[in-house]
């Protein structure tokens, strides 16, 4: 289990003094100091890691965030940002010697701009609230992580969240067009907005997915898209995972990019069906849900083409939704897959890796082999269209060694993802959970370059320390230049 850096007893001893300083500096701000209040923030959705924070601070304005960060910078107090605390990778796991900066009170929608098709909101607004607020205008915000009812847009920015519809519409990074953020030094920086692009380097691109290590986002402008007039889903069952994967490949090869394309394996299908009775077939080894949206003529045409491709790949069942109610029913099982699996075992770990699409069957075969070796069961749900896996490893934390076994199992799956040409995380982030696996994907040089970027934003490494990087960012050391004149290899370089 990855461990956080050992807390600084000196900081813990100063808890009351730091709380008093913050209350004085930022009048009216909520500073939670009592053990019972801090306990409520002891973990995010990676519940295996718990430690009440030094203090919880709940600002309401950008100026308050700036004042808090400036103080923390000047007094070398680490800061852990938190949105709704739904991170599955421990992106918001607190530290005993760090201020937890809760952004939930930044909960206002500031502007909806129909003509420029964008909305400006505070980071504590939930993902779903944005789409709900603009639905009346015939618009929506595309990324839809499965926690969208609870997760905040600020957290989405931090983790570059995806969702089932990002196959067609992109991830958070493709749909956020501006932010205001505060640096650890307390400087307020505005980047991007309603215009396409922004001056300078793509700082916005670097901030999205930076897991709270570069700055605190205090305002977000998102692009809105017109709601498609029609969406239909196909529910397709196969006797083998290979046939389902071949169908996914055939759909993409035919030039069709569905709005979403999800796969479930047999354990996931059975768990979901038992939980929500979505009408899923129980006698198939793989189930695909393919959603197509757009104008009616196009959607009907694509539904027919996808059904034909499924038939060519020996689908045993293929149903197309005829109403939005039926479409919602097709999705109900998939969307409830996590809690459904949660009923089968006392605990489960939700993994998140990406592989090239075509290697799905091979990966599933390897996971089956690992199940036997680790003595643990797995249910698999995939964002099949973009090769993003979510194996759910079931275990019982009360049994000796099972937590460690489950984590080792998960780590082996992720190592295999990297070996297959994929990534350690598709949409949940590295956080604390996958931190120590980063060297599987990146060389020491690659990680040093990433840490140097961190140093450009936060030279004291105070923002969300202990996350993403397996070794601490030592900026002074990383900044040194080593020039070895004797080592130059330019003799063979053609010169003109």
């Amino acid at each position: 289990m990855p461990v956080l850096p050992p807390p600084d007893p000196g900081l813990i001893a100063r808890r009351a003094a730091i709380a008093a300083d913050l209350r004085r500096l930022v009048p009216g701000v909520s500073v939670l100091e009592a053990a019972s209040e801090r306990l409520a923030y002891e973990c995010d959705a990676l519940t295996a890691h718990r430690s009440p924070p030094l203090l919880v601070v709940l600002p309401r304005t950008t100026a308050e965030v700036a004042a808090i960060l400036r103080y923390c910078h000047d007094h070398a107090v680490p800061v852990v940002p938190r949105g709704a605390g739904t991170s599955l990778s421990g992106g918001a796991t607190p530290m005993a010697d760090a201020v937890l900066l809760g952004m939930a009170r930044f909960n206002r929608i500031l502007e909806i701009d129909r003509e420029n098709r964008c909305a400006t909101v505070e980071p504590g607004v939930t993902n779903l609230a944005i789409s709900q607020a603009v639905a009346g205008l015939g618009l929506f915000y595309a990324p839809d992580p499965s926690s969208q009812i609870a997760c905040t847009i600020g957290g989405n920015v931090a983790e570059n969240s995806g969702g089932v519809h990002c196959l067609k519409y992109g991830l958070t990074t493709n749909n956020v067009i501006g932010v205001e953020f505060v640096t650890i030094e307390g400087e307020i920086i505005d980047i991007g907005g309603k215009a396409y692009g922004a001056p300078g380097y793509d700082v916005l691109g670097a901030l999205v997915g930076s897991e709270g290590l570069l700055g605190i986002v205090t305002r977000v402008t998102v692009r809105l898209l017109p709601l498609p007039p029609v969406a239909r889903a196909l529910l397709i069952g196969f006797a083998t995972v290979e046939q389902a994967a071949a169908t996914v490949g055939a759909i993409i090869a035919a030039g069709i990019i569905p709005a979403g394309m999800e796969m479930m394996d047999r354990p996931a299908i059975l768990a979901a069906e038992a939980f929500v009775h979505a009408g899923y077939p129980r006698d198939v080894d793989a189930l695909l849900i393919v959603e197509l949206d757009g104008c009616p003529v196009e959607v009907d045409d694509l539904v027919a083409r996808v059904a034909a491709l499924a038939g060519e790949n020996n689908a045993t069942i293929c149903r197309a939704s005829r109403s939005d109610a039926e479409r919602a029913l097709f999705w109900a099982g998939r969307k409830a897959a996590f809690p459904a699996v949660g009923r089968l075992a006392p605990d489960y770990l939700c993994m998140d890796g990406t592989i090239p699409r075509r290697r799905l069957p091979e990966m599933l075969g390897r996971i089956t082999e690992m199940e036997a070796r680790f003595g643990l069961k797995v249910a698999n749900v995939f964002h099949a269209g973009d090769g993003n896996l979510h194996p759910l490893i079931m275990f019982d934390a009360n049994l000796p060694d099972q937590t460690e076994q489950a984590e080792a199992f998960g780590a082996e799956i992720l190592r295999l993802c990297v070996a297959m040409g994929g990534a350690l995380s598709g949409e949940h982030g590295i956080g604390l959970e996958k931190r120590d696996l980063m060297p599987e994907m990146f060389s020491e040089r690659d990680l040093e370059q990433q840490m140097r970027l961190k140093c450009a934003f936060d030279a004291g490494a105070l923002l969300n320390p202990g996350k993403v990087f397996p070794t601490p960012c030592r900026c002074a050391e990383l900044g040194k230049m080593h020039v070895h004149r004797g080592d130059l290899r330019f003799a063979d370089l053609p010169r003109f």
Binding site: D113, E115, R117, E159, N160, G162, L171, T173, T183, I189, K194, A195, Y196, G197, P199, G200, Y201, V203, G205, A206, V208, S210, I252, G255, C295, P296, V297, E298, D301, I355, P356, R357, H383, D386, G421, G422, A423, L424, S425, G426, E427, H428, G429, M441, F442, D446, L447, E448, Q449, Q450, L453, A456, V483, R485, D487, L488, R489, F490, L493, P494
Partner: protein, 398 residues
Amino acid sequence: MEVLAAVTTEQVQAAIADALAARTPLEILAGGSKTGLGRPGAAARRLDVSGLTGILDYDPDELTLTARPGTRLSEIAPMLAARRQMLAFEPPALHRLYGTDGEPTLGGVLAAGLAGPRRIRAGGARDHLLGFSAVNGRAEAWRGGGRVVKNVSGYDMPKLQCGAFGTLSVLTELCLRLVPAPETSLTLLVAADTQAAAGGIMARALNLPQEVSAAACLPDAIAARAGLPRFAPHLVVLRLEGSGASVVDRAAALDREFPVVGELADEGSVLLWQAVGAVAPLLPDPDAIIWRLCPPPARAAEILVALGPLAEHAYLDWGGGLIWLALPDAPPDGAAATLRAALGPDGHATLIRGPAMLRATIPVFPPMSPPLAALNARIRAAFDPALLLNRGRLAREP
């Protein structure tokens, strides 16, 4: 100027190590089609990576392409087209704009962060670079990103490399995402009496669920130069792409909403948008300076009206989010102050073409607030602490 030609990553490393030891800045060049974009450099050495070519892996099933940066777009596009795929961001060919015979390369287009008319639907260059290999200003070979679309493993380094003009590292290998090419392309011509009406048509069209993939507005004189008939003072052009039946259906829906006066199908539609992306309608005057203004799309019409005669040679792309503007007779500052004031804090302006003297004296790229400029300088130094790579190209540097 001393020219170092690298055809391998090791040679790029050697050239940078040499420059680092000598503390001599390096100008980085691939196809050389856009040397006129940016502040003029004063480097005594050039690192020519145009020989760093080759398609390393084209994987149509996974919709990815891996190639070296010197690979020409003219080699890549037909190969993708043969499999009915494409680069979605529609990289524009600007060599005619710069009057160079250099050929646009994959590395050049991404380093300059250029995207064509489909940006409003498919995103910019930044949205399509999945991963890369590069050499930083410490002469270290390193890698960022990956080969899959969904990847939140560490910082999104590909985003930073796009539009950095090689100042953060010299790219040596690029992995891009591809999309299926549309079966058909159809452009509707819509007449508008005023700039404001034209702006309103574009905004309404883009708010409809018809998946308009490009929206431009050309004044009649400029429309004529693009080979379009002169129907009205302003011509709005809206592109639909997709399967035949779908395009027909969506075109009918737009026809019910707007005064459609004509259409261009297939080849005609494709050629029009290539011209719009390449700024062809503004090119007849080779001495005019050319600006790219990016306002909030809905403000474009108002800005053009406010600019008055300065905006005589101008047209809109990106639904108004991009104003291409040519100035045959510009004031000494190239009208930079006037244009930037008209845009205000919500927009930004880049001098795309102008004499070297002008590019040396005014900010070619949009000025930044002091904290953002300072952050940019720190980011630059995090990759290239000796400021060797394309020194001075983006901003004045010591």
